[in-house]
Amino acid sequence: MAGRDLLRVEGLSTRFFTEEGQINAVEDVSFTLREGEVFGIVGESGSGKSVTALSLVDLVESPGRVTAGEVRYRDADLAASVRDRHPDAVDGEFVDLRRVPERVRRSLRGPSFSMIFQDPMSSFNPSVTVGEQIAEAVEVQRRASANPRSTRSRTQGYGLGRLLADTVLPTRSYVSGESRERAVELLEQVGIPDPADRADEYPHQFSGGMLQRAMVAQALAGEPDVLVADEPTTALDVTIQAQILNLLDDLQAEAGMSILLITHNLGVIARTCDRVGVMYAGEVVERGSLTAVFDNPVHPYTQGLLGSIPDLADPAPRLQPIEGSVPDLVDAEMDDRCYFADRCPKAMTECLDKPPEFAVDGDDEHAAMCVLADHDFIESEALRPDYFESPLEGADVDAAESETDD
């Protein structure tokens, strides 16, 4: 199923510059997405998975900013068209999207990258019909392909004057009739009954599941190569979740696009993905093929996640939760250590230095950012359980002393 690499993300970092300090939401994240595959990113709330998705499509909002890394996207045409002006961004057929102007990145939204979001209700403009909003997405691409050489046509101005004219004059509109028809076709394609009628309805007249289908239709408008799905099923109930996942499966088989699926739901990952990356505190701590990661998890965090799923075949009396919660990632409070060490049952003194990424069992694909991938747990070096709960007074001195005592 999987083909050549389509997207290579290397060392991606995204920071938020807030008054409380710098927050490292995404820290040195690397992964690849291949043609026609589903790559899953899984992690707790606050692990940086959504910000990773937004960073790829350049939609991180202020005060956030992508600060480092490369997002290499394979597109021979694009490479040819930017080679002259931005030679350092081009490497063969790959273009580093971080080194081309914002205008170019924006022009890729729609035909190359598209995104669906968690909450369909808030992701549609409440006062514009669903059909019109999908037709807009079609129209932008239509106008762009009418003038393919120019990225300008996609970013062309639409000022107050034209807004006024389009609002006041009933015959004028940004969206053409053809685009409206295409929107109805798209709605039909994602399985919405009576698409022509429903296209004229407003988001509040749709159910959550139907609206999520409409959002998928909207994302398909530009026939993207990469669909980024940020928690596409989280706001939906379980039967509807299954329908949306089936829909994504079908569409992917039809269109052959690649999907980057962001979720906290391991069941969704297991059901849908070819490969998976596990995120914790802004880092990808373990990645590999679905079977490798799920059957042979190495990182204690991955093991913890998998251990906290109820097993229907062998219902254990109690689930094994991971103690504690994700650190808040404010730069000043983060040491240069394994971020999971404070919650890790197998933390060792070695973990006070940041562990590198180790390949697991000689498998090129499967890697984990954990010393346990390299060697076994050494009991004599284990940190005592309350090591990171430094006492309120004289924290530093006490910590240093207890360290030497050990």
């Binding site: 979001f117 006062s127 062309q156 000022g159």
Partner: protein, 353 residues
């Protein structure tokens, strides 16, 4: 939203409006009976006999039971009759409607000034947050909201009218429609071109300055700015915060994700949703301006309904007071019904609720 449901919605609002106006009429009518100051004492000479007072009361119909007077007044109103002014012995409706155009003109002019300035300012301020233009707009709206308009009016007159002579200090001149008609009648493009070609700037300005429409504009500018400043500041703030609010919503991010140009995201999506609440406030304010321009009218000796109402209250000229209040109230209701219609057009959920 179908046109049928929109039509029904508007019909419902219109019917509600009729009842509100009826309520206004009733309250305004009853006001006379709970307010001290018998109109007869104001009309009759100081040394008038009881007999004369009774005769005056009988002549004005004030000796009849309240409900008879009420029904009589309602019946009169339905025929456009507001009774006779006690003081000038002319029809109250004639006086009210003679004053109404000046007031409406001023209120509309102030609103136009306010909306034309504030919405672009609010939008620019929101889209260039934390840039100098944003700080400027925020400062302006703070100052604008805190400046009392009688003071502003006097300062504008002193500076622009008295010191620089750019505008007349007071009065209205002709009305808008006569001014347009007069300008169309006497405007001579040939003369303008000739003066321009001959570079006779002063003569050209003198000619243009005498055109009725220009005179009208000169008269209304200062009152409109005075009346509109608070309003401009208020709408700027409202537009800015509304726009910031909308721009932070998920659907904006989704619009960007599907590749829409930024201008379309801002204007077609964010601004349109920002405008719905802004329009409500504009409507409420316009309604208030129709009745509440009293101070500005006083500063500029503007012959509007506000000054007339104050005069009528001082003289206990009840038919005139009642007529003015009813017209002001009805104006408020009409403006708000129109605003509801516009809002239903902009935001379909209004009809659904």
């Amino acid at each position: 939203m179908t046109t049928v449901s929109l039509g029904r919605f508007l019909l419902k609002r219109a019917v509600q409006g009729v009842f509100v106006i009826w309520g206004v009429v009733t309250v305004v009518f009853l006001l006379r009976f709970i307010t001290p100051g018998d109109p007869v004492t104001f009309i009759a000479p100081l040394d008038a006999s009881q007999e004369l007072r009774r005769r005056i009361a009988a002549e004005l119909g004030l000796n009849r039971p309240i409900y008879v007077q009420y029904l009589d007044y309602l019946a009169g109103l339905l025929q456009g009759d507001m009774g006779y002014s006690y003081i000038s012995n002319t029809e109250a409706s004639a006086r009210v409607f003679a004053r109404l155009p000046a007031t409406v003109e001023l209120a509309v002019a102030a609103t136009v000034v306010a909306v034309a300035l504030s919405i672009p300012l609010g939008v620019v301020s929101a889209t260039r947050r934390h840039e100098p233009v944003d700080y400027g707009a925020t400062l302006f709206s703070l100052v604008g909201i805190s400046t009392p308009n009688f003071w502003l009016g006097i300062m504008l007159v002193l500076l622009l009218a008295v010191q620089f002579g750019l505008f007349p200090t007071s009065q209205r001149g002709t009305g808008f429609l006569p001014a347009v008609a007069g300008t169309v009648g006497q405007f001579d493009p040939g003369l303008v071109v000739r003066l321009a070609v001959e570079l006779r700037g002063e003569a050209l300005l003198a000619y243009l300055g005498k055109l009725p429409l220009v005179t009208w504009l000169a008269h209304i500018t200062l009152p409109a700015v005075t009346l509109g400043t608070y309003f401009t500041a208020l709408i700027t703030r409202l537009t800015r915060s509304g726009m910031l609010d909308e721009l932070g919503k998920s659907y904006i991010r989704a619009s960007r994700a599907k590749g829409l140009p930024e201008s379309l995201v801002r204007y077609k999506h964010a601004l349109r949703n920002t405008l719905a609440p802004v329009i409500t406030v504009v409507g409420l304010q316009l309604g208030t301006l129709i009745g509440g321009a009293v101070i500005t009218e006083a500063v500029f000796a503007w012959p509007g309904l506000g000054t007339e109402l104050i005069r009528a209250i001082n003289l206990r000229d009840w038919p005139l007071i009642q007529g003015s209040l009813i017209v002001i109230g009805a104006g408020f209701v009409v403006v708000n019904t129109l605003v509801d219609a516009l809002q239903a057009y902009l935001d379909p959920r209004v009809v659904a609720d």
